[in-house]
């Protein structure tokens, strides 16, 4: 059952103002409609996490940590490591996040990031196998929203990728049929960098990376992701409302252009081992 989350009271004048500014290609924070907020990425901050990244996009801040365990593979994929993505919208982050188990928004966030990573083929899961059919690396990618000023999707994916790209996984050797840590560490190969951009639609105009005040007045929003090859790797309409079909072409073009911008920034900031995927 999908219980609608509590709606924030919105001032009507804000919608008219944001829309009229958009008609002049302007936004309340001075950005142009397709401008993203400044992105900051910090990795390797936590000693008990095998990988970690703190990402901010404007005032929105996301902390992701990776925990690694060794466990059984899925029966239908005996030679592949596994990963799960969890996300929590921490009550610290916003007056509208309540404590408790992840609500539909947190679950949606986790699953959208998961799909980008999985369908985007970011990790070579076969390289995360230890003993086929018995033991593989099990990765937990846990995303925490610490501060919410609109759009937790894009920075969450960025932080998950940054944490993976800089993770240090312990190597195991097989001694007497048993797995033992060798004392060495390795960073997983990253085969793709699929980023997303959140698109907000008002009337016939759209903007990217909405801040909270903009998010409150959108007619509808969606998240679109693309990889370095120009493939669409993620689409999620994540709010009620209608997306005019005639906008989709422009949205796709902008998504590809802007995910490219995020990718360039990411490659500047994060020491990532990007490997060609087959």
């Amino acid at each position: 059952m999908a219980l609608a989350p509590k709606k924030d009271l919105t001032a009507k004048i804000m919608r008219s103002k944001i829309y009229s500014l958009l008609l002049q290609d302007r936004r309340i924070d001075g950005r142009k409609p397709t401008d993203l907020r400044p992105i900051k990425i910090e990795t390797g901050l936590l000693s008990k996490a095998e990988g970690s990244a703190l990402v901010s996009m404007g005032s929105t801040k996301i902390l992701t940590g990776i925990k690694v365990e060794v466990g059984a593979p899925f029966p239908d994929r005996p030679d592949e490591g596994t990963f799960t993505v969890n996300a929590e919208l921490l009550p610290l982050a916003s007056a509208s996040f309540e404590p408790g188990p992840p609500d539909e928004r947190g679950i949606e966030l986790a699953r959208v990031v998961d799909r980008s990573l999985r369908e985007g083929g970011v990790l070579d899961l076969k390289k995360l196998c230890l003993i086929e059919g018995e033991r593989v690396y099990v990765l937990f990618i846990d995303i925490y929203v610490l501060d919410y000023d609109g759009n937790y999707f894009d920075p969450s994916l960025i932080s998950a990728l940054a944490a993976l790209a800089t993770a240090k996984l312990p190597r195991y050797g097989v001694v007497d049929g048993k797995l033992q840590k060798t004392g060495e560490y390795f960073t997983p190969e990253i085969r793709s960098l699929p980023f997303t951009v959140m698109v907000g639609v008002i009337g016939e105009k759209f903007l990217l990376d909405p801040q909270l005040e903009e998010e409150k007045v959108l007619d509808v929003s969606l998240v679109m992701g693309a990889d370095e090859k120009g493939n669409i790797t993620c689409v999620q309409k994540n709010s009620p409302g209608q997306v005019p079909l005639e906008l989709m072409d422009s949205i796709v073009d902008v998504a590809i252009e802007k995910t490219g911008e995020i990718r360039r920034k990411f490659l500047q900031e994060v020491p990532v081992k990007l490997v060609e995927s087959p």
Partner: protein, 243 residues
């Protein structure tokens, strides 16, 4: 990591090189989050916590609101990756207990009567745990409340003392907490020389207990000084353009 042979060596040095009455390096920063009404980040060595405060604001659910004062809610929570073995999502019994004792300490000093029918929500998130997470959390929560402008009788400073290899030590790290004989988190409102949080896990003689409290007070005085400094620093910062 398995138990080290000795927690205190022949020179009186602890596993991280500290003397028994030495605090770990402490870092405090006030106002680290944008959307909450008040926030703070605190480090005690390898323990890293963030605290945020929302309030006074409407109490939810409304029927829990009190007619003559605010209710103070508190949630102590650890991220999954704050500890060596991944902590699954959801609140554990330990987190629920710690939320209670932290709340009770904060309730003691906050002037809740100024905000009838309202709620003050305090959230403590441990991003890295290396011993003393509830005391670091409470120290941070107190700063966050002050940052939020909630009137209080005093700040709360907290530290854990313990007994390792028969000796009393100040500001336990994770190894000492795990393998020592006793762990005693203490929180005080230093202005009033009063204790607002006190727990003991382990066993101590009466004499050790009293000395332990005195040792905690010593650490707390220093932590209190750092808190006051961190608060004043936040509000006396001038824009770089001014220089």
């Amino acid at each position: 990591m398995s138990r080290p042979e000795r927690l205190i060596d022949e020179n009186g040095r602890r596993v991280d090189g500290r003397r028994p009455d030495e605090l770990r390096p402490i870092r405090m920063e006030v106002g680290v989050l944008d959307k909450s009404d008040g926030s703070a980040y605190v480090e005690f060595g390898g323990t890293k916590v963030i605290a945020a405060v929302f309030g006074p604001r409407e109490a939810h659910p409304r029927h829990l609101a009190l007619p003559d004062r605010a209710i103070l809610n508190c949630r102590y929570h650890m991220t999954s990756f704050s500890v060596e073995e991944r902590k699954p999502l959801g609140m554990t019994r330990r987190e629920i207990e710690l939320s209670k004792v932290i709340r009770e300490a904060l309730e003691t000093v906050a002037f809740l009567e100024e905000f009838p029918r309202a709620a003050i929500d305090v959230y403590v998130e441990v991003v890295q745990a290396d011993g003393g997470t509830r005391t670091a959390g409470l120290t941070a929560a107190s700063l966050a409340l002050a940052d939020a402008g909630i009137p209080m009788a005093d700040l709360i400073a907290a530290v854990a003392v313990g007994k390792v290899d028969g000796q009393l030590v100040l500001d336990l790290c994770d190894l000492e907490d795990k393998y020592g004989e006793a762990d005693m988190p203490v929180a005080m409102a230093p202005r009033f020389n009063s204790i607002v949080m006190l727990q003991l896990n382990g066993r101590m003689t009466v004499e050790e207990f009293k000395r332990g409290l005195a040792l905690a007070k010593k650490g707390i005085d220093e932590i209190y000084r750092l808190q006051r400094e961190a608060l004043k620093k936040k509000f006396s910062e001038i824009s770089p353009e001014e220089v």
